[in-house]
């Protein structure tokens, strides 16, 4: 992409141009009719007139065998489709057809055929072509021709079953492989090498099949195994080893570009190790290669895919993810698709398909169109994280969840019982009656609930008996109750009452006949209605009294009035009090629920009459009632959206509960538009709930994958209303205020209506829970009937902080509308009258209250801590096909550029390869099956070649990644074909093919090479000798750990962090520290080492491990001083040499020669030769003398502090052996498959 360059030669200020339309100079040639020969005037026949011209002048580059520029002219469909540059023929419009302009030589960009490439067309011929185009491109139907793209290149021909050639030296061949190899050797006049000796063979097999060296005991057993099939038995044992899957798994991981981080700048850690485990297990179980392929490419599309089959799709999730701030996420998704196409092409087809991203392949028969048709197969998947419900974690979770449930069930019994501090004691009524026949019921908490008849005016009489002498005051509590109108406390429809008279008479018990009226000081109420002061209750005026309407519309509150005694009641052991509560105001202004209490002189309160549990319940009920009365609640109606739109193509789907769940593309920022039709009139506000969901990071409610995981930012919200009706126009609905149940400190919902585009509402700190924000309108809207509200949710932050799941509700409750702070279901219960709540609803209220009440804060903290300790299930990155309605469209991209989509294409396979089954749906699963169909001429050859390379160091086709026309020719084409045919015949068994290769005489040859043979065949193309190569990076490490006894043989699990020098990871962005694993994880096999893309593990990078950015089917093998420094000095190898020394001194007999022999056998699997022993002995003795003389420090070399040398009897000897071990680990032979 080049930017346009602005010419400022005129010197005119840009500012002079502000606001002016760009002045475009038009091309004077544009629109003019080109100078073309006239069309022929007769009826043109394709076979007679046109095809000969095409055949003569065009097919060479645009026929069945070659399609330069993507254009083929041998078939109608393909010709009309055009090439990379678009259509070449416009039927009926010859003067506008590119084909005509080019053959007539009047096109700006050249003429056809190009000079030297064929005979130019005569004017008459151009005229014929013009006529043919103008007459509608008459072309007899030729269905076969559409597929008929042929290519003479060998790899596109179906491999033929070949008969292994006969050979002269028949006693050498063990299986057909040998016949092919030997036949060629004989032809070249060469002889195969003899069989390698048994120690060499067993080490070779161990390193090739399991990637670990054999122990001396294993070598001995093999050497002395006299059975004729000793070798084959050994092969079978190794193929059955669980380490086989690790060895071959690492090779496959090269293809999969496995990494533990996302790549690019942030390069954060990802969890995809379950995919690595899947590979290891699939190989260990010898999963047939066709199934192995199908599960990795399309496991999610198999019927009822298992967890394992979904994990397998991680293959194509190993692509990078750019998480840098301010990127276009889609741009890098496109890049990952490009990588997936390239990887699929390299690994299964051995083709450089990626070359056709920008233009039709220059060398191989793949057009640009076909490239994007392949792209389309892979372009329709979402990329979620899969939770893997392992039984171990599930059990642990169940255990903790049981604890949580138990603690939750205890909450009610843990509710505190209040200690009366002010000596107030509820008076237990012995008698309560209504003058007008209402029913007065005493409740367990000594309160009295009024029900039944509802007279306009009434007088209640309540009799209590109590200790009399120490009473200082009496109190009347007017209480709410769910059964009352508006929940009380009074019985008017709005819950008010008027206490017009409060009289109490006292008498000593058993002297009820002489009551004495009590006198009070000025009474005090916690609240009195204006004009209805509590004083009026004792003024003897039946028209005035105490009432509690505070004008808020919410009378539903507990109120109390206290009456202090002017004079103590008569002294007596027990006193009988008769209360008369006059409520003569009328209009049902009578109490519905109340309680009477007495305050005693300190220290003189009688013991509470009620049991502890009853008082606990009373306290809980009263606290709950208090909370209920304090919590604002509104009637919210969730609305089913009529239309939802994500500006950045996130998939938004309405759930059953009317919430909207986002999935699919996860853009850096987004704008959602939600249209909600409502019939509710006079809407006063909306509520935006943001909800958790298991599909979201940390359960949401946001989609942010990093930094503030699970959060979102709502930077702006706006609402417009469109009345129903054909030509109604939307009108903005101004928002008055915003409130929320929770926000990150300093990030309230008010920031979403502040007009600032970069501030907004976030919920960091409480993700994983539902939250709600309420936006109250300035004025209600929709007085005239149905309308549609459009809610626009701008989430214009960075780092993908968009909302994952949300729901919108409307209300027409009168203001001020605000967030209740309670969950949606609780709020919907709160707005119900208490007497209409179901038992379950009442229970839910209580349950919720128990979870939030400060009275149980400590208890609830325990529950919260347990919740936080719930272990997460491991996750893995997987593919998930998108539903039909959200299917992505694939386009051809001009010059392969992400921002230049041109023509739409549908999924298909290149015409040079066999077609898809005609009845199959063109999806990823069909594509996967096609890849491993026996008719695919490439896959068998390509995979067999990769296997061959693993054993012999070089493929039969050296360009393992390129079987196209530019690749190298196979050295043994018949052998390759024979293997390719044999593979499916063996049920696609990889182990069977490995067995076949390693049991051949070819493989079993000695790898020694003479000067003559080296000169004759330096690259060992003819295989007159065995393979000899340095092992891969991970195996270099594994050998050192294994021979020293340090290796932890555990298979599978998350990646580990073995030591590496400081400063490796700090070179990359973020300078992530490398926290070294200790314990057994320090010594795991190399394939478990954490792979960070921007800062690869140093020792492996040095030893030619590939970077995981692109697929690798062929590793480099270099031989550099940095490798020497690594094996000499890296801590891993230093520890291995120390451990190897200890091992030798512990396990070998105590003579120096025997120790040397043992050490050599550990490292090389063979006995030392005498001159080698002599060199080692001499070295050992010289170093030992230096350690003994303290010229060298034994403690430093052994890493053992003299104080805790402990069991180490002779530290100088250990030190000397550490240096011997170090030298042995560095031998060329130690790190080489001989």
């Amino acid at each position: 992409m080049r930017i346009g360059v602005r010419n400022s030669k005129t010197g005119r200020s840009l500012f002079a141009c502000f606001g002016l339309a760009l002045f475009v100079t038009s091309d004077p040639t544009l629109g003019q009719a080109p100078d073309l020969p006239p069309p022929a005037t007769r009826k043109v026949d394709y076979e007679r007139d046109i095809k000969p011209i095409f055949a003569r002048s065009c097919y060479r580059c645009h026929g069945a065998e070659k399609q330069k520029g993507g254009l083929a002219l041998h078939n109608r469909d393909r010709a009309l489709t055009g090439g990379d540059g678009g259509p070449a023929i416009e039927p009926g419009k010859s003067a506008e057809s590119r084909l005509i302009l080019l053959v007539a030589g009047v096109d700006d960009e050249g003429s056809m055929p190009p000079e030297g490439a064929g005979k130019p067309l005569s004017e008459a011929e151009v005229g014929l072509l013009r006529a043919w185009v103008d007459q509608g491109v008459n072309w007899p139907e030729d269905k076969e021709g559409a597929r008929r793209v042929t290519h003479s290149h060998w790899s596109f021909q179906t491999p033929k079953p070949t008969v292994p050639p006969s050979v002269r030296q028949t006693d050498w061949t063990r299986n057909p492989i040998d016949q092919f190899i030997l036949a060629k050797l004989e032809k070249e006049g060469l002889h195969p090498s003899g069989e390698a000796d048994r120690p060499t063979l067993i080490r070779r097999l161990y390193l090739d099949l399991i990637g670990l060296p054999p122990t001396p005991a294993e070598v001995d057993a093999f050497v002395s195994d006299a059975r004729p099939d000793a070798y084959e038995s050994l092969v079978d044992r190794l193929l059955a080893s669980p380490h086989y899957g690790e060895r071959w798994g690492r090779r496959w991981l090269d293809r999969a570009r496995y990494s533990d981080t996302n790549g690019y700048e942030k390069d954060r850690e990802r969890s995809i190790w379950p995919y690595r485990d899947w590979v290891i297990q699939a190989l260990n179980h010898d999963m047939p290669f066709n199934q192995f392929t199908i599960e990795q490419i399309a496991g999610d599309l198999l019927p009822n895919p298992s967890i394992s089959q979904q994990i397998a799709t991680g293959f194509h999730r190993n692509t990078m993810v750019n998480e840098e701030g301010g990127i276009d996420v889609e741009e890098f998704r496109f890049a990952s698709l490009v990588d997936r196409v390239a990887t699929t092409g390299t690994v299964w087809l051995g083709l450089t398909i990626q070359c056709a991203q920008c233009h039709t392949h220059k060398y191989d028969p793949i057009t640009q169109r076909e490239y994007y048709q392949l792209f389309a197969f892979l372009n329709n998947a979402d990329e979620p994280e899969l939770k893997i419900p392992t039984s171990r974690i599930a059990a642990k979770r169940a255990e903790i969840e049981a604890k949580i449930a138990s603690l939750e069930s205890e909450r009610e019994s843990q509710f505190p019982v209040p200690q009366s501090k002010d000596n107030w004691v509820a008076l237990h009524p012995v008698q309560a009656s209504s003058a007008q026949g209402a029913a007065l019921t005493t409740l367990p908490d000594d309160s009295i609930l009024v029900s039944g008849q509802s007279p306009d005016a009434d007088t209640y009489t309540v009799v209590v008996e109590t200790k009399g002498s120490d009473i200082e005051a009496l109190r009347l509590e007017a209480l709410t109750d769910p059964s009352l109108p508006s929940t009380g406390p009074g019985r008017t429809p709005h819950g008010n009452f008027v206490l017009t008279g409060f009289q109490v008479a006292a008498s000593a018990k058993n002297h009820e006949d002489s009551p004495i009226p009590l006198q009070f000081h000025t009474p005090v109420a916690d609240f009195s209605q204006v004009g209805f002061d509590v004083q009026a209750a004792i003024d003897n005026d039946p028209h005035s009294g105490w009432a509690i309407d505070d004008g808020s519309g919410h009378l539903s509150k507990n109120r109390s009035a206290t009456f202090t005694l002017a004079k103590k009641p008569p002294t007596s052991e027990a006193v009988r009090l008769v209360f008369k509560l006059e409520q003569l105001y009328g209009s049902k202004h009578v109490l519905g629920h109340f309680r009477l209490s007495a305050k005693y002189r300190p220290g003189h309160a009688p013991a509470p009459a009620l049991p502890l549990e009853v008082r606990r319940q009373q306290h809980l009920e009263s606290q709950l009632a208090d909370w209920v009365s304090r919590t604002p609640a509104f009637h919210w109606t969730p609305v089913r959206p009529a239309k939802i739109h994500s500006k950045k193509h996130a998939t938004l789907e309405v759930q059953n509960d009317l919430s909207i769940l986002a999935s699919g593309d996860k853009p850096n920022n987004d704008v959602y538009e939600v249209d909600i039709p409502t019939t509710l009139k006079n809407v006063t506000g909306i509520r935006l709930e943001v909800l958790p969901d298991a599909s979201l990071p940390d359960n949401g409610p946001g989609r942010a994958p990093l930094f503030s995981v699970g959060d979102f930012i709502l930077t702006d919200i706006s609402v417009s209303a469109t009345p129903a009706g054909a030509d109604a126009k939307p009108k903005a609905v101004p928002i008055q205020s915003a409130s929320e149940d929770y926000s990150e400190p300093n990030h309230p919902a008010a920031l979403a209506i502040d007009g600032q585009p970069d501030t907004g509402w976030t919920v960091r700190g409480k993700t994983g829970q539902p939250h709600a924000a309420v936006f109250a309108f300035k004025e209600s809207v929709g007085s005239d009937g149905p309308m549609t509200l459009r809610v626009t949710l701008r989430q214009e932050g960075i780092h993908q902080m968009t909302i994952g799941r949300f729901r919108i509700s409307v209300t027409n409750d009168p203001g001020p509308i605000r967030a209740s702070g309670a969950p949606e279901d609780v709020e919907s219960i709160l707005v119900k009258a208490a007497d209409t709540r179901t038992r379950a609803e009442t229970a839910r209220l209580k349950d919720y209250f128990l979870g939030i009440t400060p009275e149980l804060a400590k208890h609830n903290e325990k529950i919260e801590a347990l919740r936080k300790s719930l272990p997460d299930f491991p996750t893995s990155l997987v593919m998930q096909e998108r539903s039909r309605e959200h299917a992505r469209t694939t386009f051809i991209h001009k010059r392969g550029e992400f921002l230049k989509p041109t023509e739409e294409v549908s999924a298909d396979v290149p015409a040079v390869l066999p077609p898809l089954p005609s009845d199959a749906s063109k999806n990823r699963l069909t594509f996967a099956r096609w890849l491993v169909d026996e008719g695919n001429p490439l896959v068998g050859r390509v995979i067999m070649n990769q296997f061959w390379q693993a054993f012999f160091g070089r493929g039969l086709v050296a360009t393992v990644e390129d079987f196209g026309t530019r690749g190298e020719a196979p050295t043994h084409p018949e052998l390759l074909d024979w293997l390719a045919v044999e593979f499916p015949r063996q049920g696609w068994s990889m182990k069977a093919m490995h067995r076949l290769m390693v049991t051949s005489s070819t493989y079993r040859q000695d790898s020694h090479v003479s000067e003559e043979l080296l000169a004759r065949d330096p690259k060992n193309l003819l295989l007159a000798r065995g393979p000899r190569f340095r092992v891969e990076a991970e195996v270099v490490r594994d050998i050192a750990l294994s021979v020293s006894g340090l290796l932890t043989p555990k298979i599978g699990g998350p990646s580990v962090f073995p030591p590496q020098p400081d400063g490796v990871t700090t070179l990359a962005y973020g300078q992530t520290p490398w926290t070294v694993s200790n314990g057994p994880d320090r010594y795991r096999r190399g394939l478990y080492t954490h792979i960070k893309r921007t800062a690869p593990y140093a020792a492996f990078a040095t030893l030619d491990a590939p970077t995981p950015e692109t697929t690798c089917v062929r590793r480099e093998r270099s031989n550099t001083p940095l490798q020497a420094l690594t094996i000499l000095n890296d801590l891993v190898f230093v520890e291995a040499s120390r451990a190897l020394a200890r091992r030798v001194l512990t396990e070998a007999p105590a003579t120096l020669d025997e120790r040397i022999a043992y050490a050599v056998r550990l490292c090389l699997s063979r006995q030392p030769r005498p001159e080698e022993s002599a060199l080692l002995r001499e070295f050992h003795d010289r170093q030992l003398a230096r350690f003994q003389s303290k010229a060298l420090s034994s403690t430093k070399v052994t890493g053992i502090d003299a104080r805790n040398a402990g069991a180490t009897k002779d530290i100088s000897e250990l030190a000397a052996w550490t240096t011997v071990a170090r030298a042995l680990l560095n031998l060329d032979e130690t790190i080489t498959k001989e």
Binding site: V5, D328, K362, L1067, Y1069, T1094, R1186, V1197, R1222, A1223
Partner: protein, 484 residues
């Protein structure tokens, strides 16, 4: 063909340091290779040359102007508008929204397209006989302004850090292609007998593109950049394990060599010869690397010139190390200095970053010049893209008075081998938004760097996956006017 066949730009023969051959490589390995192996080595054909030393010096395509490159990579993207590209018009329109038709549909990382313009807070003056305009933030550079060439018309395709850095270094925005240093050492080999041919140094924070910036991609691993630590051991594992002294190390290597030679005799695989040689070279690196890092031999004046302090990790120390690496024949040196990503407080950020780098970068030019090395060393200074004329502010992210990423125009400078000193090229519009004269694309810069080293960017190719790849993909035009 070797460097022996070439004259230096001044017409004098190139120094003996630069006329090494493969044979020299082994002869200089000291006690290295045993007689038998050496004999077989020398008797061997061309075939073994490649397997033995992939870094053996190779002939360029044509006479080079420079032998080595020191690339000062200012990672994070310095603001050209506050350092080089003076725009008085921005003063006039400071705080006014940028005209919509200037922005068009350019995408930005963080700002909105209608952000306000922001003038530089720094004073600009003209310096030297070239009269180049520089901001007051670059007092050091102002002293060598007549030795450098400034390109104000750089532009790139990428506007996110990692892809853009990787693009400058490898010609592709996606990681996995060979880096410039890898291409150069692949094309020319190295004349450093006991140090890697391509060295990477980093100061300040980590680099966004990470190791992809110096990876060898599909080229052999031998060509990948070797990150040197600027403190302690420069090369990972160059120091012996604790308790292993030089004598023990020599004894150990002799033992390893003897055993390997015996095995070579038995097996005959020439790869063992290479192994023997690589161990000997490793041993020599163990001497040369600490010697390289030991600044005690540098004069007080030199240390002061750079602002270098022995033992301290800094850009100044890295610049001095770069000179020492060049003296030792290292072909390509990449110095990363991260920290130029000034989304907020661009003025404060530049004070800090320039404070860390300006003096040392200028010192490097002066020092190379006074030692006669500047003629054969190409020095390149620049970031991965430019910064917007518009202000970046974002309350949520706590940003104000910053500048966002800007791929359309940025400034770089080059100096030394083959570069026209005191030269200025390219112009941008009054806002510094678009290039208006002599645009230079990243691929053009890459083509020019290769050219100065005697390599034709269209001919320096490597066949991989069926096609010939090159650093400049299918693009790149030589910047003729900047050549001396």
């Amino acid at each position: 063909m070797s460097f022996r066949d070439h004259k230096s730009p001044e017409g004098r023969p190139t120094s003996p340091l630069h006329v090494q051959t493969r044979r020299h490589f082994f002869r200089e390995c000291g006690v290295g290779v045993g007689k038998m192996a050496l004999a077989s080595l020398l008797a061997n054909s061309q075939l073994r040359a490649a397997t033995v030393n992939p870094l053996a010096p190779r002939a360029p395509h044509f006479t080079p102007r420079a032998k080595n490159v020191i690339y000062l990579f200012m990672a994070g993207a310095p603001s050209q508008l506050d350092l080089f590209d003076h725009k008085p018009t921005l003063q006039k329109y400071d705080g006014k929204p940028v005209p919509a038709d200037v922005v068009k549909d350019q995408r930005y990382a963080f700002i909105r397209p209608d952000a306000s313009l922001m003038a530089s807070r720094f004073r600009f003056s003209r310096y030297g006989s070239s009269g180049a305009e520089l901001s007051e933030m670059l007092p050091g550079l102002s002293e060598v302004v007549d030795d450098i060439a400034i390109i104000k018309s750089m532009h790139t395709d990428q506007f996110n850090h990692a892809p853009a850095q990787i693009f400058v270094n490898t010609g592709s925005s996606l990681p996995g292609r060979p880096s410039m240093g890898s291409w150069v050492t692949y094309g020319l080999g190295s004349e450093a007998s006991d140090l890697p041919g391509f060295v990477v140094l980093s100061s300040a924070a980590g680099v966004s593109g990470g190791s992809a910036n110096w990876g060898s991609g599909f080229l052999p691993t031998a060509y990948q950049g070797v990150p040197f630590r600027s403190k302690g051991d420069p090369i990972l594992n160059v120091t012996n394990p604790e308790g292993v002294d030089r004598g023990l190390q020599r004894d150990s290597l002799d033992l390893i060599r003897s055993l390997n030679e015996k095995h070579l005799h038995d097996v005959g695989d020439p790869e063992i010869e290479t192994r023997i040689a690589s161990y000997e070279l490793a041993y020599r690196m163990q001497t040369s690397a600490p010697e390289l890092m030991d600044l005690s031999g540098e004069s007080r004046k030199t240390l002061e010139l750079y602002g270098a302090e022995p033992g301290k990790a800094s850009f100044a120390n890295n610049c001095l190390l770069a000179r020492r690496l060049v003296e030792r024949g290292v072909r390509f040196i990449n110095l990363y200095h991260e920290g130029w990503d000034h989304h907020s407080d661009v003025a404060g950020g530049l004070k800090l970053s320039c404070g860390q780098t300006d003096r040392a970068a200028a010192a490097l030019i002066k020092d190379l010049k006074q030692r006669g090395l500047l003629d054969e060393t190409l020095v390149v200074w620049g970031g991965e893209f430019g910064r917007t004329p518009m202000v970046e502010s974002n309350a949520n992210l706590g940003r104000s008075l910053g500048r966002d990423h800007h791929p359309q125009a940025f400034t770089m400078w080059l100096a030394g081998g083959g570069i026209k000193p005191g030269f200025m090229m390219g112009e941008t519009d009054e806002l510094g938004f678009h290039v208006t004269k002599d645009p230079v694309h990243v691929h053009d810069l890459q083509a020019t760097i290769l050219h100065l080293l005697g390599l034709d960017h269209t001919r320096l190719t490597y066949k991989f996956q069926g096609r010939d790849f090159r650093l400049t993909d299918v693009h790149g035009n030589l910047i003729h006017s900047i050549l001396a």
